[in-house]
Symmetry: C3
């Protein structure tokens, strides 16, 4: 085994719930869907559920794999706040990059930083930003001007943009921006038909947002439904513009995302969802991704949302998998030990520090007191 | 290693051939296609062929990995019936769910149960049922009425429907049933142009069958050519109607099937084809599927057809892979031993007993005398 | 561990560069793309880079994993020619099948054979042949006649054709040849608009080339961009014509290629790119492919181009992976030792000798003096 890296940058996560949780509410956060578990089954019986039961009880003073009901009782005894502090401080995460949308009862980056005794920086969700701007804009022209200003303002405080256009509309990845007249027309139609709080799903506006973000020089994280191959033309069209793209894809598409990161200098791939959700198989998944992209193009994340337990699992699964995979290769003579330790630091934190300019750039980042 | 589970439910298999087999006929059942082996190659040189030579000779009193010709000679010496009895009784399968179509010289569920000293229940193939009804129906109206009656009758004796519509026509998975007029028109055209025994490939009738089956409350097994992603909309449209879907997909699509099982409460995935055909790599494949769906959504099958050797291989590969994977995780501390034993029972039999209501429901199941 | 097979047939590779290389030029050959590495990253930090540093320094008298700069210094000290001789003679490759196009400053098959003390045979790239014929043909009729002659001449000296039509135009895989009038028209239009040296990308002519090659009875290697599933209809249409197809696909499509090799008697799959580029994970990838196709349908290659280091890595990764995978299965009792050694010889050389008729056929093959 190699020495564990000293700290992690979690390049994509959310805040945690502030409220006390019952068994059912807790379980709902362990599934890969908003749908309930099938009759006769439980989301505790998943690799995520088993991983929570492996890593979290010891951080609250219980034995690993204790029954869910016992764990939840201890969690309530400590209170959500104190349990969250103990769990987050057990992750080894030094910096959280936090997706702050859509709104919900989740801690903001400052609260997460305080609870975890860590740094936290904001990731701004483009579509949510546009929806918020629309809520206070009267005309199409006003909306577009305000949107431009809001994006520019975001570049001063946030470390990355996030686009979920690929989830709402695959065509958003047309390999060129829409024309100004097209954008004005789409904005007018959207605003006219929209009620306050209405979601943005107009394909022209989604593309406008995405290409505007490309112009802002802040890294753009992309969430896509389905196969990331559909991103190939967009990646080719956005190459050489000085803006990095970070693909957030879970199993079974992580391999394709890593492959795109191998093909395009400005494309990076998230290790998180594939490793964090695969439980005991995380080592094989991590090894698979290391074959497809240069080691400088892959970044750790927990992808956690709602439960601090998921930040714990993401971090522990990743460290454990990294130790097994790289340690095994060192033992076989395939890798040298100094190389393995260097790559471990790159994947854990170094690549994220470089891509998101976390060291050089101190534009209003929030940190723990 | 964990203790082997006491018995299996084979949730998808066929009967076995009644005739004596020569080397060539036997070999033809080891390939993944009806085409012959390439010149200079043999289907014995496949993971399936090697797995047969590993597990089966000892059940007939020979050493593992003996040459194919020697194994076949011993098989003929015992006779197909006695060899089948010894092989099936060596599987550890307590209940076979048997796809009884299309017709061929295969044992029926009662014979399989008797040979294997086990229970056997029928899976009714929808398209075959419609073809049989068409053989005895005159008019479109008569055909549709008789079909409805035949499906209703099947729900009293069978444990599941099977649709191969996705093999015959991908569009069968349109996310809504066809209208009554559309169905009558399609039935009329099909009957008018059909000779006795003609196959059903009309997309409207395939969809009608599938949605009628959804209304029958019996689980519907789906065989699909190609990527199960094409099922996503159909799965969404059929959710919440009280009927479970079980996806039968082999490598390399098993991961996508497991993923759909993770997304939709009423969708389940077959572990069989991916594990049974992967020979020595079955453990890695099984581990991969456990990462994508809750443990309550995955079901063992042998997928075997024609050769009782394939029932043996399916069962032994599965038990062996299960023992390795779960045993390894227990040894690492990733899983607790009681959890591993519980999940082993779920995958081996418990999930199938629940989904197919094998315990509660005694609607005319055939069993060994 | 099983005994290493005595020698390899490298069924797909290129020549090596004749010039001395600096650190940057060398590094450029380690990436999976022509694009430069991302700022702050290097292609030495890839599984390929680490594998080069594992296997090659000892062949030049250095310790494994020495720093890239030290390795390059030693390489220049020996000179490109002598370093190439030492590296190629360390591969264990007895026969190289060499893709000789497109032109570049690479050694030809004769030089590669001499440097490596091995046999070398030519693979003729169809599109390049057509472009060369076009450079010296005036009319469409003359071009088509000359092309037919050139292809016929190639069958006397080459061991295989290679088509990259699937990279230039996916539609080239329409499941039937274009008609003669269609071909004449396309040839006329292409020649009229073409400057000397112009690339062929006309879909009708690409299809004409491909189907003409099918008629020549020489195995046709296919390079395809993206998912080989798009080849399914073409494979079905070209079955039974006496010409073998060999799919050259790298990760993540190797599994689909192996699957097609399992479905069609005349389709084979290349083990090379998937195994050679996966570094320390090669064993898992090799095991995965063995599950999908009969062992007689998979062929080793290095896929190397430009750097003799890549021939070394391809050969060593393959032998190492083969030893681990088959050796592990023998240790588990899943395979017998004689079977494992026999399959190792098939994958290493025997399958290629049979498919490319390397023993029976001595049509002008070039060999070392």
């Amino acid at each position: 085994m190699i020495t564990a890296p000293p700290s992690l940058v979690d390049q994509y996560c959310h805040g945690v719930l502030r409220t006390e949780l019952g068994l059912g509410t807790f379980e709902a956060h362990l599934g890969s869907t908003a749908a309930p578990p099938a009759p006769g089954t439980t989301f505790f019986d998943t690799q995520t559920g088993f991983a929570v039961r492996r890593w979290c009880p010891p951080l609250l003073g219980l034995e690993p794999h204790c029954p869910p009901a016992r764990y939840l009782a201890r969690r309530r005894e400590l209170g959500a706040l104190e349990a969250g502090r103990r769990l987050l401080r057990g992750t080894g995460i030094a910096t959280y990059l936090v997706d702050t949308g859509p709104p919900g009862d989740l801690t903001d980056p400052g609260e997460l930083a305080a609870a975890g005794d860590a740094q936290a920086r904001e990731i701004v969700r483009l579509e949510l930003l546009a929806e918020q701007v629309a809520d206070t804009s009267g005309t199409a022209e006003g909306f577009l001007a305000n949107l431009g200003e809001a994006m520019h303002a975001a570049t001063r405080s946030a470390v990355a943009f996030l686009s979920v256009a690929g989830v709402r509309d695959g065509l958003a990845f047309a390999p060129h921006p829409p024309g100004p007249g097209e954008v004005r027309g789409a904005a007018g139609r959207w605003l006219a038909g929209r009620r306050a709080g209405g979601l943005l799903s107009d394909p022209v506006l989604l593309r406008h947002l995405l290409w505007n973000a490309i112009g802002c020089q802040l890294p753009v994280q992309l969430r896509v439904a389905g196969d990331p191959e559909q991103l190939t033309e967009f990646a080719a069209a956005s190459a050489g513009l000085g803006t990095d793209l970070v693909l957030l894809h879970g199993s079974p598409y992580h391999a394709h995302a890593a492959r795109l990161a191998g093909l395009f200098p400005h494309v990076y791939a998230d290790l998180g969802p594939a490793v964090a959700h695969t439980g005991a198989r995380a080592a094989a998944v991590l090894a698979g991704m290391l074959e497809l992209a240069p080691f400088g193009k892959l970044l750790f994340s927990s992808g956690a949302r709602g439960l601090p337990e998921l930040h714990v699992v993401g971090a522990h699964q990743f460290r454990d998998a990294l130790g097994r995979v790289l340690g095994g290769w060192v033992a076989d003579g395939a890798w040298s030990r100094p190389d393995a330790e260097r790559v471990a630091r790159m994947l854990s934190a170094g690549n994220a520090r470089r891509v998101y300019r976390l060291d050089a750039d101190e534009r209003g980042g929030r940190s723990a007191p």
